[in-house]
């Protein structure tokens, strides 16, 4: 079973508000991924890190999204100004190495933007 921790489990925000969620990867996993799973079960890769460095990211949705994985602190994903279309399950995953490795997923943060 995965030991990836995500907080909070649920997040409710109004449009225009900031939304921040955190992820603690499994111990010993230097690679962290963020995905967005919408209500139609479509997954969208957002960003990933190896240790503190960004490996790849999408256009980060008009720059409203930001993420970081500081040393000795949880990783975080923040939406600067939430929109209704951001309502989704945000999944954090970690893996022991970058390629060919299974990713271990956390329970997700379900964001609802009213």
């Amino acid at each position: 079973n995965s030991k990836v921790i995500q907080t909070p489990r649920y997040l409710v925000k109004g449009q225009g508000q900031k939304a921040k969620m955190r992820c603690i990867p499994e111990k010993g996993h230097p690679v962290v991924f963020w995905y967005q799973q919408n209500k139609n079960n479509e997954f969208k890769f957002l960003i990933n890190f190896q240790n503190q460095e960004v490996l790849q990211q999408i256009d980060m949705t008009e720059k409203r999204f930001s993420a970081e994985c500081p040393s000795n602190s949880p990783c975080s994903l923040e939406i600067q100004s939430s929109e209704a279309g951001d309502s989704a399950l945000y999944l954090c995953a970690s893996s022991p190495w970058g390629y060919y490795a299974e990713q271990f997923f956390g329970p997700g943060t379900r964001l609802t933007v009213l």
């Binding site: 079973n1 995965s2 690679v31 991924f33 995905y35 139609n40 079960n41 479509e42 997954f43 890769f45 990933n48 490996l55 790849q56 999944l91 995953a93 893996s95 970058g98 390629y99 060919y100 490795a101 299974e102 990713q103 271990f104 997923f105 956390g106 329970p107 997700g108």
Partner: protein, 115 residues
Amino acid sequence: AQSVDQPDAHVTLYEGASLELRCSYSYSAAPYLFWYVQYPGQSLQFLLKYITGDAVVKGTKGFEAEFRKSNSSFNLKKSPAHWSDSAKYFCALEGLGGGSAKLIFGEGTKLTVSS
């Protein structure tokens, strides 16, 4: 383009039957393929992966999958099915390029096993 297709949104069968969930992929290079399961209210759990080698790979919970390059498929199988296998199953492809190993998911197959 890289993509994964799971053509069956829903599969229903009786306990004891054999299950096969279909997955096809589109990819220009050698594919790295995964299956994950999502039980209601839970997150994704890894079942198995194909990287190279034997076309049939075995995973957790009694599942196996067969990689077929000829028709770009990676179908998940289990026999017999159990009611506890009821869940949503996702096939995924490791994306190429960009220096990372992001997963490209299909839209999932909801499996219902009746007792």
